[in-house]
């Protein structure tokens, strides 16, 4: 499937004439949208697989918290800040060797997922940290007073209580990754970014450019709305 996509890209880059008609534009945009969706969804998912535990560790290892460990907390915090301070466009180039190692290539949608996921992990960790910190300490203390272990506090108190807030974080992360994926697209990452770059920037195809922009706007709106709705549902169920 991946090779098929890459060949598809190659042929479309070479073979298509200017003065594109609407059907052709749609086909290109649809394919690129699908790639972006695919890339962003997987990168979001993976970044939570790693970022969520890191966020939990960030919170619980703080002074006075259930797994207090000042050293670990400081090391982790510093590392996360360091990664977050690298601009994504530079990060993208920086991790190329690692991407090659993992995927075998640094071009295409699958390859893009590596820098996207890596960049999103520290972001997600901070988002989760913020969500967990909103929880009233009294709830944690109540659980401890009943004899809960640290693990039980995390699983039964912290995560369920922060669910609505975490869901909103997922929406924000996804939207950020859409933006990042466009940057990745410029260095051959595929998706809407590549489309806009090749046709819009290098070939002055205004139509493609504008359709891409509209699709992006619509996409971001949808993600935000879905996030709000889901979070709202969680909160409302409790009222």
């Amino acid at each position: 499937m991946i090779t098929a996509q890459i060949t598809g890209w190659a042929s479309s880059l070479m073979g298509i004439s200017l003065g594109a008609d609407m059907a052709w534009v749609w086909e290109k945009v649809l394919q690129a949208t699908w790639e972006t969706l695919y890339m962003v969804a997987i990168a979001t998912g993976l970044s939570y697989v790693f970022g969520l535990p890191l966020g939990v560790i960030l919170v619980t290892t703080e002074e006075g918290h259930i797994l207090e460990s000042k050293g670990l907390n400081r090391v982790l915090g510093t590392f996360i800040n360091a990664v977050r301070s690298i601009p994504f466009i530079i990060f993208l180039i920086l991790v190329i060797p690692f991407t090659r190692l993992v995927v075998g290539t640094s071009i295409g949608t699958v390859a893009s997922m590596v820098p996207l996921t890596l960049a999103a992990i520290p972001f997600v960790a901070r988002m989760v940290e913020t969500s967990l910190k909103e929880i009233d300490w009294g709830l944690i203390e109540a659980a401890l007073s009943m004899g809960a272990s640290a693990w039980q506090v995390i699983i039964k108190v912290l995560l369920p209580e922060a669910r609505a807030s975490i869901v909103l974080g997922v929406a924000i992360t996804t939207i950020n990754l859409v933006g990042y994926s466009a940057m990745a697209g410029i260095v051959g990452g595929g998706g809407l970014g590549t489309l806009a770059y090749y046709y819009g920037y290098q070939r002055y195809e205004d139509l493609i450019m504008w359709v891409t922009v509209i699709v992006l706007i619509a996409f971001v709106q949808c993600v935000q709305m879905a996030g709000d709705k889901w979070a709202g549902k969680i909160t409302n169920q409790r009222r």
Partner: protein
């Protein structure tokens, strides 16, 4: 319904007074030379200073003190939410300081706690909130569900089982908190200002529930409060804490009638007006400037409240008595109160009248 319940009752019925004696001397909580220092960046705060205290099995023990006195710190040391800086805490013969993490968690399952802010999980409905401690203790689901149903019944919120805490009133939330705290059959219930966020009526009903639980299940309750009414309503014994130290401990009735420290005195006068308004008294004194008169405050506890002591005194000593101010209250069903009297008549007769009042078991204090 509960094993404590069944045990407590049978034992009480068949062993009678011998057990009662054993119970009174049985120290469920024994705090010895407890100190707690909070280290903050700017200063060290001595929150508890060499506190020793014991709580008997089956009693309702109150700790009262002003804000910042160290009440919360003290109660939180009892389940090790705060680690004592010095001193020991024995709960049912177990030294909590000596326990490993795992053993401490086990011990905590047997020490229930309720809070001023209720601290219910908003992500769980009432039923699941009460289920929570049972999950922590790894009770099999079927057994746990049955237990939850019993507990909801006990605290009277069965109809709210599927409702989320956000939809409950403060009183209902505290009932859920109580059910949750009782889930694992604790030996002790700790209450940190459990009624301070509630209105007076709701406070009364929650206190009644606690008292019922105490007498029905034989559950020992240790509560902290800054409200003397709470102490008056349900406590057997009380400790007064002031500036990190216990300044007085005793039966509620004896502290009410004879507060030994300024702190206790001010707490008691916060709910019992001992004195008639000043200007009222000075007016009355002026009026009788012709004959000898003496202003006394008579305090009584218990039985003597029902006897016609004042009228006997008037008849026997031939004086007049003017009741200026009076107040009667009840502390745990014992009547308790004071009268401000103006005794008018012959100087010697007034003196003898006062002796008579003292002999009748009243406390007499000359005011003017």
């Amino acid at each position: 319904m509960f094993c404590i319940h069944a045990k407590g009752q049978t034992v009480l019925i068949f062993m009678g007074s011998k057990l009662k004696y054993a119970r009174e001397t049985d120290r469920l909580i024994q705090i010895t030379n407890l100190s707690k220092i909070y280290h903050t960046p700017h200063q060290d705060i001595l929150a508890l200073d060499d506190v020793s205290l014991s709580v008997r099995r089956g009693e309702v023990f109150g700790i009262i003190g002003l804000s910042g006195a160290g009440k919360s710190t003290l109660i939180r040391c009892i389940n090790m939410l705060e680690k004592p800086t010095r001193g020991s805490i024995m709960v049912d013969g177990q030294d909590l300081n000596a326990l490993k993490q795992r053993e401490l968690r086990q011990a905590r399952q047997k020490i229930g706690m309720i809070f001023q802010q209720f601290n219910l999980l908003s992500s769980r409905n009432v039923f699941d909130n009460v289920m929570f401690p049972l999950e922590i203790a790894h009770i099999p689901p079927q057994q746990a569900q049955q237990r939850v149903a019993e507990l909801l019944e006990l605290v009277g919120i069965t109809d709210k089982a599927r409702v989320y805490p956000d939809q409950l009133s403060g009183g209902q939330k505290q009932r859920v908190g109580i059910a949750r705290a009782l889930a694992n059959d604790p030996k002790i219930l700790l209450s940190d200002e459990a009624t301070s966020a509630l209105d007076p009526d709701t406070t009364r009903s929650i206190l009644k529930l606690l008292k019922d639980i105490n007498s029905q299940l034989g559950l020992t309750i240790l509560l902290i409060t800054h409200d003397m009414n709470v102490i008056k309503q349900i406590c057997d014994r009380v400790a007064v804490i002031n500036e990190s130290r216990i300044v007085e401990v005793g039966d509620v009735i004896s502290i009410f009638s004879k507060p030994g420290t300024p702190t206790s005195q001010s707490f008691i006068s916060s709910i019992i007006n001992k004195d008639a308004p000043d200007e009222y008294i000075s007016n009355l004194i002026n009026r009788h400037s012709g004959s000898y008169s003496c202003l006394v405050r008579v305090s009584f506890i218990g039985a003597s409240a029902g006897e016609p002591v004042i009228s006997s005194m008037i008849k026997r000593h031939g004086i007049d008595a003017n009741i200026l101010y009076g107040n009667i209250d009840r502390v745990k069903d014992v009547p308790f109160g004071n009268l401000t009297l103006e005794l008018i008549g012959d100087r010697e007769a007034v003196r003898q009248s006062m002796e008579f009042l003292k002999d009748s078991g009243l406390e007499v204090e000359v005011m003017a």
